[in-house]
Subunit: 199 residues, 2 copies
């Protein structure tokens, strides 16, 4: 009995290794390659630990860390969906729900239910932990972009308004960091002269 439970847990952990092969658009700070979702997930956990003091609301920090660890696991099947790809974002919820069915379904049901609930909580933006986790998940790629001359902004040309909207969870959940975010966006769009909304 116990051995079957352990086997399912081990199979899930082995399957999770595939997140290391899912590429995001974000670049490493040295510009040599794109970041994968597993290493991104680690980096936002570290980011949460370092920026925790700026959370606008009380946060159950253990749950926030667990949420960050599983929030992108569905990308193993559903792939990373670039924030500024409107077409791909239309099918994202459906692809990710099917991925969640399969991946969390590999676990013993009590554990699968628990981890899936963390993923759903992250997606719903309804709790302080989710708002904090989403803000951290937006702020880390901004630091990567700052280190790579605009990074994904330079390569994929979102408008200033799109970037500000994308970063909005930082404004509300980590307000002390908003001047840094706004300053970085201002500097990038002023220097590239692409600050206007596309006509």
């Amino acid at each position: 009995m116990n051995q079957e439970r352990i086997s399912r847990q081990a199979a899930f952990l082995t399957e999770s290794d595939k997140l290391k092969s899912i590429l995001r658009r974000t670049l490493l700070t040295d510009g040599t390659r794109r970041e994968n979702t597993a290493e991104h997930s680690w980096h936002i956990i570290l980011t949460a630990m370092v920026l925790r003091e700026y959370a606008a609301e009380p946060v159950n920090f253990e749950r926030a860390l667990e949420m960050l660890a599983v929030h992108d696991l569905v990308e193993i099947d559903a792939d990373d969906t670039f924030a500024y790809d409107a077409e791909a974002n239309r099918t994202r919820a459906d692809r990710e729900r099917r991925a969640a069915d399969r991946l969390f379904g590999m676990l013993p049901s009590d554990l699968g239910t628990k981890l899936r609930a963390l993923w759903e909580e992250f997606e719903a933006h309804q709790t302080s932990e989710s708002r904090f986790a989403n803000a951290v998940d937006r702020f880390q790629p901004l630091l990567q972009n700052l280190a790579t001359e605009g990074g994904t902004w330079r390569i994929h040309h979102p408008t200033r308004e799109q970037v500000l909207r994308r970063m909005d969870p930082v404004r509300t959940a980590l307000p002390a960091l908003w001047p840094l975010v706004e300053g970085a966006i201002d500097q990038f769009f002023t220097s590239t002269g692409s600050g206007q909304t596309k006509p």
Copy 2:
């Protein structure tokens, strides 16, 4: 004042990105490349979440997760030291201490002290959180090896006794998983006929 604090925190997080370029000996389960330390750090956090129920002692789980997130950060300067490389392990403590001075020293001192203490606690194996975290850190590469026909065991030829010693934290801190570990080691060394201690 606050802006200077935030700048130091952001600089530390940007520097931490370099952990994504530190390669371990462990292979990804598809065998295509070596695992880096950042994605390994995420994977052991997920492993801790999934195997938590088997901890032999009560564990402050939030602290255990934070410990896992920072336990290998020093490798940014000190590089990964392969478990079975006796020569490199002689200089490891010194290299890692200097790395800790520099990296945790980038942070505001209260935060740097806190994160450094987590790393030192992990290394000392003296608390239940450290014993649990070390066991998880040994168990995840075993799963990777199981998925890659022995992985690092096949490539680097440690003896059966070296592997059993390396895995011993699992026996004491996650005893329910020991039959799986022993079984995997038995099967590998029996099938390769390299189960004997080198003469």
